[in-house]
């Protein structure tokens, strides 16, 4: 009798363990299928960029390259054509860097000071000013495109690096201010009060208390701004000229260039080159990248 009951429980245990295993298996299977979906475009881009055009036309989208060639990468970097100009992405990669670095630096610096002032040196109306700034995070940039084009023309910055840096820095301020303000919210006001009583001023407190506590939010802000500005296309295509185009605009021109044979392998190599800096940032500092994304979305 007892034996019988024991055998029964063992059997049901075995059964439930089976179902448990089956559930775990399907769990991993579903996750695996999704992982394939996400990784597939990158995989296709990489293998296509390593094939010759002949192989692309013969073989399938998903087949591995038989004879690996780095020629498309060389072409994409230094001689791919966009219309009649065949100079590759090299120069445009540099253009993007020339634009991104100062724009990120300026907007991060301004954001840090703004966030500090708005959080710990509140004055009458400072909350309203913050709300007005915050609205700048949400506008579709189409609404500022036309007057910006006219203004850039008037101050003789049309198509210049300075003009593009200014545009990116200006529209970065709402985000950077929001990032720093929300981060500084976690620093107790008592600390600031104590420092004030000790006679420390606005900038002194910023330098010796806030700045040393800021590296995490500085990293988040820099990554956010770098990614946004590097990946920008709208401002790039609207306010640049051939010599100052950022890499996204150049990539789009190369891919949609209608002259000559369509070189898919070069297109893919060019796309990977354009994506590489931000991908690298994501891989190296993913934690901060995600934090910025969620901070940028939850807003406050």
């Amino acid at each position: 009798m007892t034996n019988h009951v024991l055998a029964g429980t063992a059997q049901s245990q075995l059964k439930s363990r089976f179902w448990h295993k089956a559930a775990r298996f399907s769990l991993y299977a579903i996750l695996g299928i999704f992982a394939l979906f996400y990784i597939m475009p990158l995989f296709v881009m990489v293998i296509t960029s390593l094939k010759s055009l002949d192989e692309i036309h013969q073989g399938g989208l998903l087949s591995l390259p038989e004879n690996i060639t780095f020629e498309p990468w060389k072409v994409a970097w230094s001689s791919a054509c966009a219309g009649v100009s065949c100079v590759g992405l090299k120069g445009y990669f540099l253009n993007s860097m020339v634009m991104v670095v100062p724009a990120v630096f300026i907007s991060t610096l301004i954001g840090a000071i703004n966030g500090y002032a708005l959080m710990h040196w509140k004055f009458k109306g400072s909350e309203i000013i913050f709300a007005l700034l915050l609205f700048g995070c949400f506008i579709p940039f189409q609404i500022v495109l036309l007057p910006m084009a006219i203004l850039l023309g008037k101050i003789k910055l049309s198509g210049s690096f300075s003009g593009l840096i200014m545009v990116h820095a200006v529209y970065g301020i709402p985000f950077t201010t929001m990032f720093f303000r929300n981060y500084y919210m976690t620093i107790p006001t008592e600390l600031v009060k104590a420092a004030k009583i000790d006679g420390a001023g606005f900038f002194r407190i910023f330098y010796s208390i806030f700045l040393p506590l800021s590296p995490p939010i500085i990293v988040v802000t820099i990554i956010w701004e770098f990614t946004n500005i590097w990946n920008d296309f709208l401002f790039g295509i609207s306010f640049s000229e051939p010599g100052t185009q950022p890499i996204t605009v150049a990539l789009n021109n190369i891919v949609n260039s209608t002259t000559g044979v369509k070189e898919y392998n070069v297109d893919m190599a060019a796309a990977i080159i354009a994506a590489l800096p931000t991908l690298l940032v994501y891989i190296v500092a993913g934690k901060y990248f995600i934090r910025g994304l969620s901070a940028g979305s939850v807003k406050g």
Binding site: Y38, I39, H57, A117, L132, T177, F233, T248, K299
Partner: protein, 290 residues
Amino acid sequence: MSSWLQKHISKIVIAPSFAIILVFVYGFIGWTVYISFTKTKLLPKYTLIGTHQYEKLFSTPRWYVALENLFVFSGLFILIAIVIGLLLAILLDQKIRTEGFLRTIFLYPMAISFIVTGTAWKWILNPQNGIEAVVRSWGFESFRFDWLINSDMAIYTVVIAAVWQASGFVMALFLAGLRSVDQEIIKAAMVDGIPTSRIYSGIIIPSLAPIFLSAVIVLAHLSIKAFDLVVSLTGGGPGYSTDLPATFMYTMAFSRGNVGQAAASAVVMLTIVVAVIVPYLYSEMRSRHD
């Protein structure tokens, strides 16, 4: 002097940024709104003539295509990205051994620009060499997947690429939310013998409501900005079948030289965004003051 400075230093520091935002956000919005009520064609004219630009805009078939596409695209994009994002987050929350690795894979598209995404998917979806050719080579000779060049279906390719890009981000949002759900309540429910599916549908998912809201806001915001993706994936085509208000506005402003129509369409875009965002911001601000 010094104490006066100390007293007002915060205002002095904020002033330049405030002035910049006043001009570059509010001033520019004001300018665009103003121009949308004038006769402006290529060069700005400053005589107000009423709603002429809007009447013209809303009698343009192409504008209706763009608006319809915006609603179809953003509706599907938001819905699918949230369903996939939530599903992935729940699956990843089951003590998965390779969670970190999988999370990295699901999220990397978010680091890439829409232009790169468009370039990649344009290649994958083109009927001659892409998925259609692959499935045919497996023996399904009559398989057809030509959405990219089919003007009725092309907008859905934009949805596919956008979902690919953003759903991992929605997953990250939900996963953070799942991790902050009170574990005690879940344990209590499990002790009571409530099945896992009921715990999710009855307790966990309802507690994620604020995350649903911010996910919808972010995705809605992304979709009104999806200009880059349409430009690189379909170029607005075939014809203008995948035009969005953003591409319509750009075409009017920079290819057609019709600044008046560009301004009017930009104002409509802003109105749509404000209609979505302002109630959200208002509720956020209120909940923070309570």
